[in-house]
Symmetry: C2
Subunit: 182 residues, 2 copies
DNA sequence: CACAACATGTAAGATGTTACATGATTGA
DNA sequence: TCAATCATGTAACATCTTACATGTTGTG
């Protein structure tokens, strides 16, 4: 359960309320790690019960009160132990419907792939451009991780884009490596 | 639920038993889409109950009988509708503990990252080489999707490797873009 | 004799999505 | 007035992992 550490990590900076955690998320890690309220609120509850965070209710801007969560000593220790332990693994997961679709497409059927490939190519290209301009917009003083996260996204989007371009090439001619018999 | 379509798609070729489906998986899609028995068997059961597949028991090589599953008309139709509908999306997910670790690493702390970065770099490089040689080992007659899946893995592993190399570079000098004040 | 391969499965829990429910306030 | 933003949550379901349980056969 790493959502736990995401939350503890955010709360290390300062107390946050739920809605705000989601905002923070969506604007930083969120591109990479989407979180829904349906997951966030129950997790905050659990971390409260386990004593990793404590809750104070303060009036919200509108009607409903905010529940502000503060990191406790226990939470702090837990986070730091997680962080100290280090040796984290990257794992690239390429598990999507398109890949599955591709897996079940026969050579003779390759043309049917093209509309989906083109559509995905558009989406990926546009996303890549967005991240690229965000990277360029970063000042020199921008924190290391911000730059690094954007780069990571850009590199993988680029990989995906180039791959899709290759699929288009491959689907135009039957034998990918040139020379054909006959 | 796409494990459903993975199974239906495999059974289109010929009947399979559970253990065999897992084998097939591990040797093709498996690099990309790991499946555990804990997920596979219950899903086969569900698809039997819903009438997408039917089960016949045949003696196994050793002691326990095999349960061979065959695609029914319903299953076939369902798969084909899924396939016809097309417009599948790629989605790259970059949600791993290392990235989270990075997210919580301060600029001043960057050096602490290096051992993990190097370790991951080794792993990723080695994986990349394995897939590369598998790609080269493919004959010219190899099906389109096999080549494409391997390429996809290779491209993303390469993206990851280059990214890790950049992290190493970035962590050696504070300002990434050259000119420093002072 | 121990261990890998063959072959089935269950149970518990972690993780994540989607839709629903509530209700005030602000701005177009 | 209508949609968006603020702010909380629940419930149902889907997905996936891990550990356990069972038992034979072949191989070193």
């Amino acid at each position: 359960m790493s959502l736990k550490y995401v939350i503890l990590g955010l709360l290390r900076q300062r107390p946050h309320y739920g809605y705000e955690i989601k905002q923070q998320f969506d604007h930083s890690l969120g591109e990479i790690w989407p979180v829904s309220y349906g997951q966030l609120y129950p997790t905050l509850r659990k971390l409260s019960v386990s004593g990793h965070i404590s809750m104070q209710t303060v009036p919200g801007k509108k009607a409903i009160d905010k529940n502000v969560y503060t990191l406790t000593d226990k939470g702090k220790t837990d986070f730091e132990q997680w962080y100290e332990k280090g040796v984290k693994k990257t794992q690239i997961s390429i598990k999507d419907e398109f890949t599955l679709f591709l897996f079940f497409t026969q050579d003779s059927d390759m043309v049917r792939l093209l509309p989906a490939v083109r559509k995905n190519h558009d989406i990926v290209s546009r996303q890549e451009a967005v991240f690229q301009s965000r990277l360029e917009a970063l000042g020199e003083g921008a924190p290391f991780f911000q730059r690094a996260l954007l780069k990571k996204m850009i590199f993988h989007l680029e990989a995906e884009r180039i791959w899709l371009e290759e699929i288009i090439m491959m689907s135009k001619r039957p034998a990918p490596q040139g020379v054909q018999r006959g």
